[in-house]
C-alpha cells in the first residue's frame, strides 16, 4: 500500500481533507455536514496517513493524545447544554444570534454550533484512539 503514488496523494489530501472537515463542521447547520460527518472525515484522513506512513513513523513528529480530545469534546458539549441554566432557561435551550458583517452578509451564530464542535472532538478523539490502540496492539 505504501507506494510512492499513495504517499504523494496522501500528502496532498491531508491538508485539503482537514480543511474540508472543518468546513463540514462549521457549515453543518445549513448545508450538508455537521460535527459527526466532519469528525469522521478528519478521522478518515488521519487514519489514511497512519496506514500509508505507519503509525510509528507518524508518531515521531505528530503524536497527540487522542484521549484528551474526546474528554475535551465531551466537556464542551456538556457545558453548552448547561450554559442555558444561568440565564433562567431550560437545560439544552439553544440560542440563535445573527451578526451582520459588511459585504459578506449575516453571520449566524448558534449555540448548538458549539455543541456540534464538542461532538466533532468526541468523534475524532474516540475513533482515533480506538484506531491507534487496535493498530498498535500486538
Amino acid at each position: 500500500m505504501t507506494t510512492v503514488i499513495t504517499k504523494m496523494i496522501t500528502r496532498i489530501c491531508l491538508p485539503l481533507a482537514i480543511l474540508f472537515s472543518i468546513s463540514l463542521l462549521l457549515a453543518g447547520h445549513n448545508t450538508p455536514g455537521g460535527g459527526f460527518i466532519g469528525g469522521v472525515m478528519f478521522v478518515a484522513v488521519v487514519a489514511l496517513t497512519y496506514v500509508v506512513y505507519g503509525i510509528k513513523e507518524i508518531k515521531k513528529s505528530f503524536n497527540p493524545d487522542w484521549g484528551n480530545w474526546f474528554g475535551f469534546g465531551l466537556t464542551i458539549s456538556a457545558l453548552t447544554a448547561f450554559s442555558a441554566l444561568p440565564f433562567g432557561h431550560n437545560f439544552f435551550r439553544s440560542a440563535v444570534e445573527f451578526i451582520p458583517i459588511p459585504f459578506v452578509g449575516n453571520l449566524g451564530l448558534v449555540s448548538a454550533g458549539l455543541f456540534d464542535i464538542g461532538v466533532y472532538f468526541v468523534v475524532i478523539g474516540s475513533l482515533l484512539s480506538i484506531f491507534q490502540m487496535v493498530g498498535e496492539d500486538k
Binding site: H29, V96, A112, F115, V119, S129, F131, M133
Partner: protein, 787 residues
Amino acid sequence: MDPFISITSAVFLPFVLAAVVPALEKLLKHRIGWFASLIAFISFLLIASIIPLVHSDPFQASVEWLPSMGVDFSIYADGLSVLFGIIITGIGVIIMSYSTAYMGHKEDLPRYYQWLLLFMGSMLGMVFSANTIMLFIFWELTSITSFMLIGYWRNKPESVYGATKSLLVTATGGLFMLAGFIVLRAITGTFDIPTILQNEALIQAVQSHKLFLAALVLIFIGAASKSAQGPFYIWLPNAMEAPTPVSAFLHSATMVKAGIYLVARVHPIFSGTEAWFVLVSGTGIITMLVAGFLAFRQTDIKAILAYSTISQLAYIMTMFGYTTYQEPGMGVAAATFHLLNHATFKACLFLVAGIVAHEAATRDITRLGGLRHEMPITFIIATIGALSMAGLPPLNGFLSKEMFYESSIEMGHALGSPFTFIIPALAVAGGVFTFAYSIKFIAGIFLGKRPAKGLPPHIHDPSFVMIVPAAFLAGFIILFGLVPSLAVQSLVEPAASSIMMEPQHLHIQLWHGVTTSLVMTLVTFLLGALVYAKYDSLAELQNGFNRKYPMISVNYIYDGLVNNAKSTLKGFASFMQPGPVKNYMLALLGLMILLFAIPFFKLAGNSIPSLNFDVEPYEALVFIFMIIAAVGAAVLPKYLQAVISLSALGYLVSLFFIYLSAPDLALTQVLVETLSTIILLLAIVKIPQTFKEHISPSVFIRDALISVAVASMVLILLLYANQGIIPPFESLSYYFIEKSWPLAGGHNIVNVIIVDFRGYDTLGEISVMCLAALGVYNIIRSRGESQ
C-alpha cells in the same frame, strides 16, 4: 441571621470545603484535622443559633427544585432536627480534634477528613430535610460515606468485608424506605413531611388506609437496617474495622441513630396503632435482650461497644413504640433524653477504646488488664462513661434508665395482666446485661493484674489532644446527670414536643423519692453483679453453642447469600451472554421474524403486493453489483476478501443515497464505510486468515433458512409500505421541516435534529462513544497485562 441561610450553610459548608481539603493539606500537613474541626465548629454555631427559634413553631422554608414532581428543596427545623444537629456537629468537633492525634501523620489524611466532612454534611442534610425524597438522598449519602470510612484501610480484607456488609445492609434498607415513602405518597398525595404532620385529617386517612401496614413496615425496615435493629444488626460489629474515631462518630453517636430519627420523624403519622407497638417495641425488646447477651462473647473491646450500641438503640426504639398504649409523651421523652445521653457516654467510651488501642497496641480484652496505675486519667474517664451506661447515679445514664423503667411499668399497666409483670421484667433483663458488660469493660482493661507478657513495657496516658475530647464528654455525662434541666429545657423538651406534636414539659430530677423504678434499678444492680460473676461461663456457653450450631446465626445467612450471589449470577450471565456473536444474532433475527410475521399475516388477506420492475438501466446495474458483493461477503473463504466485498456493498449503497438525493447520508455512509473497513483490516491481520470453523449441514440449513426468512420478510414489508397498503400515519418530519429555521436557525434539518431538537440524545451518544473508546483501551490493556 436568616434561619434558612444558617441551616443551608451548615449543611453545605462541609460539602464545599471538603473539596479544598487536599489542597490545604499540602500547606497544613498533618494539622489539616484542625481545619476540619473548625468547619464542624462553624456548623455547630450555625445550628446553635437557631435553638431559640424552634421553641415556638417549627421553621419551614423552601426553594423550588423539581416543581413538576412536587419536590422542592425544603428545610424543616423543629426540636427533633435541632437536637440531632447539635449532636452531629458537637460530636463532630470532638471527633475531628481527637483524630488529629489518633491518625498517624503518614495516613492518607485528606481522604479521611474529606469523607468525615461529607458524612457530617449528609447527616445534617438528612435531619433538616422536609420532604421524603431529599431525606432519602441524604440518607443514602450517609450510607456511602460510611462505606468509604469503614473501608478506609483498603488493604485490610476485614475492612473491605465490613464496609461491603454495611453498604449492602443499609443501602438495601434505604431502598425499602424509599418504597415506603412512595406508598405514603400514594396515600397522601405529597412528599412533604410537614404537610402530613400538620394535618390531623390526613394522618387519620393514613391510619385507616388499607396500605397503612405496607407503608409502616417498609419504612421501619429502612429504620431498622440503619440503626442495626432486629436481624439487620449484623453490619455494626463488622463496621468496627473503621478507625476508632469513625466508630465513635458514625457507629455510636450519629449514623446509627438515623433510623431512630426516622422513627421519631414519622412517629406522629404511624403511632397510636397496634401495628406500631408490635413492630417497633417488639423489635426493640428482642434486639435489646439478644444484643446485650451476645456482647458477653466479644473479646474485642470495640465489638463489646458495638453490641452495647445495638442494645442501647433498641431501648430507644422500644420507648418510641410505647406511645400507643400509654399516657402520651412519657416513652418519647425518655427515648429522646436517652438518645442524647447515649451519644455522650458511648462516644466517650469509644474514644477511651481508641486511646487504649493506641497506647497498648491491642484491643483484645483477654490480653489487657491492670492499666489503672499506668493510665489513671483514662481510667477515670472510662469509669465515668461505663458507669453512666450501667445506669449508676448521679450520671446521666441513670436518669434516662429510670425513665425507661418508669415508662415500662406504665406500659405493663396499660396492657394489663400478664404484661404488668412481663414488660418491666424484660426491661430489667436488658438493664442487667448492660450492667454486666459495662463492668466488664472497666474491669477487663483497667482492673485486675497486668498480664505478664503481650503488652508494651511502658504504657501511659495519651497526649493532651486525645484526652481532652474524651474528658469533655465525661464532663457532659456528669453535668447532664447533676443538672438535667440544662439539656432538657433547651434540647430534649423541644425535641419531645415536636415528636408528639404538642408541648411537653418534663421534670427530671436526680432524687425523686423511693419509687418502683428505683427499686427496679437496685434489683438491676444486684442481678447485674451476679451475672457479672458468671460472665466468663456465659461467654463460654455462647461460644459452645456457636461451635455446635454454626447455622443458627444471621451472619451465616448473610454470608451464604453474598457468597452464592457470585455463582448464581454466573449461571444467569452465561445463559444471557454465551459469548459467540452468532448466538446473539440468532436471538435478534428470530425475534425480528416473529415481529414481522404479525403484520405480514394481518395484511396478507387484503391484497398481494405486486413487484415493480420499472427501474432505470444504471440502477439495475448497481443492483447487480450489490447482489454480487453481498453474495461474495457471504461465501468468500478468506476474511480479507469477505471484508472487501462487504465494504464494496456499503459504497454501492451510498451510490443509491445519491440517486435519492440524500447527500449527507451518502457522505456519512462513505466515510463510515471507509473507517470500518480500515479498522476491520487492522483487526484481521492478527488472526488466521481463513474461516476455520466447521459448519455442520444442519446448522448451515438453519442459518440459511433464518437469513432467507428475514430477507424475504423485509422485502415483502417494504413492498407493502411502498404501495400504501400499510396504513400511513402522520410523519414527524413535517414538524421538523417547519420549525427547523424559526426555532433553531438552521436549514439542514438532519443536523438541527442532532444538535438541537434531540441534543440530549446526542449528548448520551457521544458519552457512549467516549465509553467505547475507554472500553477498548481497557480490553487491550488488560489483555496485555495478563500475558
